[in-house]
Amino acid sequence: MPAENLVEISDLNFTYGKRPILKGINMKIPRGKLVAIMGLSGCGKTTTLRLIGGALKPTTGSVKVAGKEVGGMDPEDLYKMRRKMGMLFQFGALFTDLSVYENVAFQMREHTDLPETVIRDLVMMKLHAVGLRGAHKLMPSELSGGMARRVALARAIALDPMLMMYDEPFAGLDPISLSVIGNLIRHLNDALGATSIIVTHDIQESLKIVDYVYFMAEGVVVAEGSAEDIKASKLPYVHQFVWGEIDGPVSFHYPSPPYRNDLLLESAHAA
């Protein structure tokens, strides 16, 4: 019987050069659930996602996907595992020299020996699921930002992955595209029976669709719970983030010497 949690992260530390990025992270992503990792830019959300996908190796600690340690895998095992994963990149990362159709067919051609007629049907089904069947002949340069994100989503689900990862799926979208992408993420997760992780700092859209939230700040998980728990949280970091307050634990000013020094007032006085 498969474990209840598809992804398990324990005491995860990751250091970039001498700079600690993640400090003792613990997370559990249950099968079939849609879990958000939220927090400010630079708090380590995307790094966590890259560690789950095996693009980075932990400095210490453990990242397990379907019970297997990702950090210890050789390239062949890692590629085998990634065939069961889908990832939506921040700006889609569509292959600009391939049409919409070819982008969605890419993984099928690379990893299967399916006949062309079957590939065509599958591509059309995936594109229909994201509402872009009629755009299959277009090139990525002819798509709007929202359409490119939807094509990338169709490409990511091409091989029906068990784990979907979304890196800032709502960044730079208009309100309609935002709702469309949000609904698609929820609907596809449930329809495919997949497990999904969304890395985002979009509060409004993500809290509407997710089952559980991990809230990160400065490389640690500072809060976790349901969308309602996060909204109601009194923790200063979470409160400032959720309500968009200008001042709080996250200061408006980047650390700097006293203002007087930079304006050279002291030296002007002395002169």
Partner: protein, 265 residues
């Protein structure tokens, strides 16, 4: 403090040497990985043919036009010099030997570096900057095998063909100026050329040169693109480095190859 300045200078030199050796090692590893991952470029030949179109066929115009002008200039300059010694009938052999041995492979490689090499670097650099390479890795597709190797072999195959066309058009340019415009005897132009150009010594060595240049230019272009920082500035610097490094590599390799090929001829 002079000794501090000396210490700082030595550290800078040491740092630059260590960085240079590290980068050379990294580039060699990248080149080795490209060779190891080349199987798919031949199993799925359409990937390589597509790249031959972009790197080779799309470079044809600049190669043909440049070759024609270089041949015409050679015809003019050669005639000016040869007529002083009453040897204008040797114009055909001068034009052909200059092109086949040196100018064809070298100039075609320099043009190839500026036209196709810079395009390869910019394309791969932008693929990296827009996360297309990362996306490919996340889809369990090796980018070296899928993106790099087909472009490498396309460059290696295209380069000698382009150099041959450069030389052929250059000879025609020399003929136009020497025979049609100036009036050098057509029979002696072609017969001297035929007598002077040796297949093994001149043609084969010229082809070997262009294959070596093709390997060097394409490998440099691919490495610079793959190693480019994923920013607009990073891609711009990488493209510049491709053209500069390729040009220096072609000229340096040309000297070394010429020493071995034509020593004592």
């Amino acid at each position: 403090m002079p000794h501090r300045k000396v210490g700082f200078g030595l550290r800078s030199i040491g740092g630059a040497v260590v960085d240079g050796v590290w980068r050379l090692g990294y580039a060699s590893r990248f080149f080795l990985m490209t060779l190891i991952s080349s199987g798919a470029s031949f199993r799925r030949i359409h990937l390589t043919i597509r790249e031959i179109y972009f790197t080779g066929v799309m470079s044809l115009i600049i190669i043909l036009v440049s070759g024609l002008f270089v041949g015409m200039v050679l015809g003019l300059q050669g005639y000016e010099t040869l007529q002083k010694y009453g040897s204008e009938s040797a114009l055909g052999s001068l034009v052909a030997l200059s092109l086949v041995r040196e100018l064809g492979p070298v100039l075609a490689a320099l043009l190839f570096a500026s036209r196709a090499g810079s395009a390869i670097t910019a394309e791969i650099g932008l693929m990296k900057a827009t996360e297309q390479i990362a996306a490919m890795e996340m889809m369990a597709v090796d980018p070296i095998s899928r993106v790099v190797a087909p472009r490498f072999w396309a460059g290696v195959i295209s380069m000698p063909l382009l150099a041959a066309m450069f030389s052929a058009v250059g000879v025609f340019g020399g003929y136009l100026v020497g025979v049609v415009l100036i009036g050098v005897d057509e029979g002696s132009f072609w017969s001297q050329m035929q007598a002077a150009v040796d297949f093994r010594q001149d043609i084969v060595n010229g082809v070997i040169k262009s294959v070596v240049f093709g390997i060097a230019v394409t490998a440099i272009a691919l490495f610079e693109g793959y190693d480019a920082p994923p920013t607009a500035e990073g891609v711009s610097h990488a493209t510049t480095r491709t053209v500069v490094t390729s040009a220096l590599a072609v000229l340096g390799l040309d000297f070394i190859l010429t020493v071995f090929m034509f020593r004592g001829v």
